[in-house]
Symmetry: C2
Subunit: 272 residues, 2 copies
Amino acid sequence: MIKQKKEISLAERPIGIFDSGIGGLTVFKEIRKVLPHENLIYLGDTARVPYGTKSPEVIRQYSEINVRFLIEKGVKVVVVACNTASAAAIDHLKEHFPDIVVLGVIAPVVENLIKLDHVQKVGIIGTATTIRSGAYQRAIQDKIRVDILVQACPLFVPLVEEGILDHPLTMQAIDYYLAGIKKAGVDTLILGCTHYPLLVRPLDYYFNHRVRIMDSAYYTARELKKMLADGRVTNPSRDPGTESFFVTDSVDTFRHTGELFLERPLTIIEHV
Amino acid sequence: MIKQKKEISLAERPIGIFDSGIGGLTVFKEIRKVLPHENLIYLGDTARVPYGTKSPEVIRQYSEINVRFLIEKGVKVVVVACNTASAAAIDHLKEHFPDIVVLGVIAPVVENLIKLDHVQKVGIIGTATTIRSGAYQRAIQDKIRVDILVQACPLFVPLVEEGILDHPLTMQAIDYYLAGIKKAGVDTLILGCTHYPLLVRPLDYYFNHRVRIMDSAYYTARELKKMLADGRVTNPSRDPGTESFFVTDSVDTFRHTGELFLERPLTIIEHV
C-alpha cells in the first residue's frame, strides 16, 4: 500500500473513501458493517457534485484532487465510492498514484457476478457517464458471455437526494427508464450507482421480486475486507473505528441528506 | 459600464452572459430576439453545474470566476442568466466588479410584477438555493403587499435536461411540487429558474390556463435592451450579431441539450 512512517503502523492508518457527494455513504455504511474497527475518512466533493453528467476528463481531474486530499490525511487505501469516478478514472488514479492501493466499485461486483450460476441476461443501470463509458460492459465481457442491457437513469440521483423513494413518482420514473429492460427479461440487475441502493425496494417491487439485484456497495466492502486481510493491514484495534467526514461545499446540506443515507446521525463533518 | 479602450467603442463590445450550464440559454434566446445586432458571449459553467443545490458561498466563488472570464473577453455588460447565481451572488458581484454593470434575472421580473393589476397571490418556484435565499420574496415585499407562496422544485432541472417535457412523469412531478400552490389559488406564478420556461406548456395546462406565468428570461432581455439604450451603448451595427459559446466541461453534452433550449443548431462552442 503506501510506504510506512515511524509513528503509526500501516494497519492503524485510516481508510479513505471518496465520492462526488453523498451517494458513497452507501459504500461507507457497508464498509463500517464489515470492518467495525477501522478508522474511516470520507470525502464528499459536494461543491462539484454530480459527476454522472460530466465528462471523463473533468471527473479524472476532480478524482485526482480527492485522492491527493486523502493521501495527505495519511490513509492506507483509497476507495472510490462512486461508480462514475470508478468508470472514468480508476486506471488514471492507479497510474497516477502508484504508491497507494485504489479500489473502485465496479470490479468487486463484476468479480461476484461471474461466480454466479444461471446468469444469462444482465441489466446495468447507472449515470449517463458510467453507462457511456462502457466500463461495466467491458469488465463483464472480458470474463463471461452474457447478454447485457444498459440504461442510464439520470433522474434517479435527484429522486434519491430529494428523498422521493416511495411515491407514485418513484415508480413512474422507474418505469420510464426500465420498461425496456423489464420487457427484455433480465435475470440480474446491477445497480451501477451508489445512490441506487436506496431504490432497491421499489426496484424489487417493479421487477416482481424476480430479478437478482446486485449492489456494488455490498461487494466493494467485502472485497476491501479481504484485501486488507490478504495484505495483513487490517487494523488490530478492538475499539470502534473513528469516522471523519469532509465536504467541499456546506456542511448542512450534507448532514441532512447524509443521515437519510446512513440511517443514523452524522457527527463530525468538516468543510475543506 | 466599463472604461473605454481605444480600438473598439463601448457600444460595439459584446454582451457577456453566464449561467451554471445550459439553462441561461433561455435568457440568451430572449436577448437575441430583442437585440439582433449585439454580439453575444455565453459562458456555461458546465464543469460545476448545477448551482441550485449548492451553498451561496460556493456560488459566489464560481460566479466571480465567470464574471472575470467575461470581463477578460471585453464585454460591456454582464448578464447573470441564472436565478440561483442572481439570488446568491448579485450584490457580491456588483460590489466586487464596480467598473462593469451586472444585470441579474430577479429584479427585471419583479419590476414588471409590481406594475400589474390584480396581483394578490404570487407563487414563486425555483431551485432549493434560490428559494432558501429569499431573494424574490424580499424584492417583492420591498415594493408591494401580496401573499407569496414559494416552492423549491429540484426535480424540474433534471427533467428539463433529460428532455422529459411532455410525459406523464412531467405532470406527476409538477403535481408533486405544485399541488399546494394550486390549491392555494395563486393568480401569478414566477418561474424563478432559467430552465423552467421549457415547462411552460405543462405548467399552463396544470393550472387550467388560469394563472399568469411570468418568465424572468423575457423581462431580463427587455430590461437589458432599455439599459443599453439609456446608456447609449446599443451596438450601432446593422449586421446580425455574432455569437460565441464557452463551456467549462465538454462541448458535446452542451451542444446536444443546448440545441433543445435554443431550438436551433449551435455553432461555435469552445471549452475553457
